[in-house]
């Protein structure tokens, strides 16, 4: 068993012992079992799921992952139970981001809206994947 904690600025979103956990990172999805090696990496928006069961999962956005043999700590900007995701809002955000991207001028603007687009897209995908 390995302890998984998902923490957001809004509070502790998830804390449980599980057999395995899959995490989306910038380098692709990683699967973590107990006694995993030490690892730190950046989180990508997507689905964190446990025991290989996608139905039991949490959607997360940007953040950091800290893996040790005993525990997995995920610090995310936002985390939602899959059922809690507001698809309408995500779609709206996606539309806005796309519109803004079309007219964005500076690198910073582009970066910001890309981020929003990626996030919204990931949330929509998570909902479709789990359904």
């Amino acid at each position: 068993m390995i302890k998984v904690e998902i923490v957001t600025p809004q509070g502790l979103a998830f804390s449980k012992e599980v057999n395995s956990v899959n995490i989306p990172t910038v380098e692709g999805e990683i699967g973590v079992l107990p006694k995993h090696m030490y690892l730190m990496t950046l989180l990508k928006p997507g689905l964190v799921y446990f025991d290989g069961d996608e139905k039991k999962g949490m959607a997360v956005t940007y953040g950091v992952v800290d893996v040790t043999p005993e525990k997995v700590l995920i610090l995310a900007e936002e985390a939602y139970e899959v059922g809690e995701i507001d698809v309408g809002k995500a779609k709206e955000e996606f539309e806005t981001a796309m519109r803004k991207l079309a007219t964005a001028q500076t690198m910073e603007e582009i970066k910001e809206w890309e981020k929003m687009k990626e996030k919204a897209q990931a949330l929509i995908e998570v909902v479709e994947r789990v359904r």
């Binding site: 380098e27 690892l39 730190m40 950091v64």
Partner: protein, 288 residues
């Protein structure tokens, strides 16, 4: 004091009662806002604790020289980030921290201190006096505490620090000490003070999927942004607490005043009745 007629006194009492109604309403509103602010404060603690843990693990094994944000310098030029409230009517909340800031400036008179002001009250105060101000923020606490501003300010001071425009950055804000007291607290923001202890030997076996230097920089930035955000959340909770207490006192004072003036009113009324009676009795006597 000129002698007031009963009617004047009654008007005065009415005025006090009206004020009392307002202060009481503000008290109730502040209590509700305080509850929300405290919830936010307590729910944000796990994140900052965990982030702190992560930074501690990470930083204990970093060579200080390689990271510009950790570099200690002789303090000649200093930035002070001061967090105040947007509004007054909160007792000594703003004036206390402004006095604290004045003291800070006084102690470092031989150095060049620039100010970054979050919250309207502090900005109003210092912009009228001759202090160098890097930037001031207004309407910060309007709806919810604005993370964007925390990020922006943190970016500004990081840039100034790394660009050697300043040698140190301090952060001053009101903080809840217990559930029922607050006070101004000053902390060093940059150079980054190493969290104590926690030299986990196994850090060296950490594996980074991303480029290590970039990763560390990102985490430190996140941590600093969050520190600033947390200072604002603390200040916000303390502000509502201070306002609630101030308004509670004001309401109690108004109650006392109403009681006092009611006595005076009764006396004046009694007096006028007595006078009238004397008049009538006197007239009746004269008619005989």
């Amino acid at each position: 004091m000129p002698k007031l007629s009963p009617r004047d006194i009654r008007r005065k009492i009415q005025g006090i009662k009206n004020t009392r109604r307002i202060t009481n309403a503000m008290k109730v509103v502040s209590a509700a806002k305080l509850r929300r602010a405290q919830e936010l404060l307590y729910s944000s603690r796990p994140y900052s604790d965990k982030l702190y843990e992560l930074v501690r693990d990470l930083i204990a094994h970093i060579d200080r020289e390689t990271l510009p944000l950790l570099k200690e310098k002789e303090e000649r030029k200093i930035d002070l980030i001061l967090v105040t409230a947007d509004r007054g009517l909160a007792g000594a909340f703003n004036s206390n921290i402004i006095r604290e800031a004045e003291k800070f400036l006084e102690e470092r008179r031989d150095k060049k201190v620039s100010l970054i002001l979050i919250g309207r009250k502090g900005y109003q105060y210092f912009s009228k006096r001759n202090y160098p101000i890097v930037k001031g923020y207004d309407e910060v606490f309007r709806k919810e505490v604005n993370f964007g501003i925390a990020r922006e300010v943190s970016e500004i001071v990081r840039e100034r620090f790394v660009g050697e425009e300043v040698d140190a950055v301090y952060l001053m804000n009101n903080e809840m000490i217990t559930r029922a007291s607050y006070k101004p607290i000053t902390r060093k923001f940059l150079p980054f003070e190493l969290p104590e202890g926690g030299s986990r030997e196994d850090y060296s076996v950490y594996n980074f999927e991303v480029e290590e230097e970039d990763f560390i920089k990102r985490i430190l930035n996140l941590y600093l942004n969050y520190q600033l955000y947390r200072a604002m959340v603390e200040s916000n909770a303390a502000e509502h607490f201070a306002r609630m207490v101030a308004m509670d006192n004001a309401t109690k004072n108004a109650d006392d005043l109403v009681k006092q003036w009611t006595l005076i009113f009764n006396k004046a009324r009694q007096e006028s009745i007595t006078l009238e009676l004397i008049d009538i009795v006197g007239a009746a006597e004269a008619m005989k």
